[in-house]
Symmetry: none
Subunit: 123 residues, 4 copies
């Protein structure tokens, strides 16, 4: 939930993932207004420049739209959001499988490990 400043994953990427996650989960809906850059930066304790970059990338990805003078909003293009969801899922799985392979594990073994694991929702 919180930002890990020592992680290998860049802070801005962690923030992109978090916001993307909120949208995927439906906690944030198409047309919703995001906090201002400064507000959000203060909230999570990062530099405003970092948050600026996050918003910029989100807009580049077509996830948000900026209305001058009004702020940043989640796009109302729900088809785009569906695309986003699929893209993200595909990338996630693809890079995971690449890792599995290069490290010498079989897909079967790993899936079993995930299913038997003691994490999260038991889904």
């Amino acid at each position: 939930m919180s930002i890990d400043f020592s992680a290998d994953k860049p802070i801005y990427q962690q923030l992109i993932d978090r916001i993307t996650g909120e949208i995927i989960k439906g906690h944030v809906k198409p047309g919703d207004k995001l906090p201002s850059v400064r507000e959000y930066a203060v909230e999570v304790g990062v530099n405003a420049n970092t948050m600026q970059r996050v918003y910029k990338e989100l807009e580049t990805m077509g996830i948000t739209e900026t209305k001058r003078g009004q702020g940043t909003f989640v796009t109302e293009d729900s088809i785009r959001l569906e695309q986003l969801r699929d893209e993200v899922k595909k990338d996630l799985v693809q890079s995971f499988l690449t890792n599995i392979e290069s490290l010498g594990f079989s897909k079967k073994e790993i899936i079993e490990h995930i299913q038997n694991g003691e994490w999260g929702e038991k889904g």
Copy 2:
């Protein structure tokens, strides 16, 4: 199988993963001698210092042992190698699940995607 010089993952990490993978797969066995630093560096087309770093890291991980003037050998401590396998698997899955969660996907949905995907054994 080969090194991606433009990937986000550093070359030396790719090499560590590769060698670790070879050991996990059993292609390289306890007590086996690895190629010399310079030899291996030439083989994969990286600088000798980069390969040196890879070997050093492997030794720190307890995977290899160096006999001065003779070369670098995979440890004969097969218990350590079993540990290694488990650690690597656990880390792999753990970080994947963290990603899934922060991006708002359910474990169930992702596993289905992996199983139905067009990768790996069906690839």
Copy 3:
């Protein structure tokens, strides 16, 4: 206090020992920021790569944490620092005793020599 460029012990190891010592002595405290790699390198007169290696090793040992773009900090995990102190002390004494033994001295004789010696507090 200063670096011996012609010692048998590598420069980077001397630097690790020095920083570790500063922490053990309490001159550097949990959460303190270390000088930047380049800054410190200039200060002691070594190459930046050498210092980079020192910092990397310290991080691997769990003594420091790096916040990207901000610098390197002593871990705030004071339990880890206590562990460190004990580990270092144990290793120090253990390797000394191994030496004593292989060279054929008794522990008693050596301790007497240390206590009567012209070093340290009496120096």
Copy 4:
């Protein structure tokens, strides 16, 4: 007792320490004949060149004497052997104290640790 091929201390140095130790302990006496280079090399499983170096350094140190055609003998100069004992002891303690200091421990604390330790002869 045995040679550690993966240790940080060079094999030849380990062997010098061992032989020196045997003399200090009195297991090997002034005038005693040492095994031939080849014999000894086979016995401990090292390269003959390595053992050659060991014998050469011992002679340089004035500990042994070579009689052509007869072999290598521990010097009968018992004053030299006493000197040797003292030199070795002094070096040992000196380097230990240097380490203690650079790592931020007090002499007192370390001696207590040695005395309370669960090693060796309890001497």
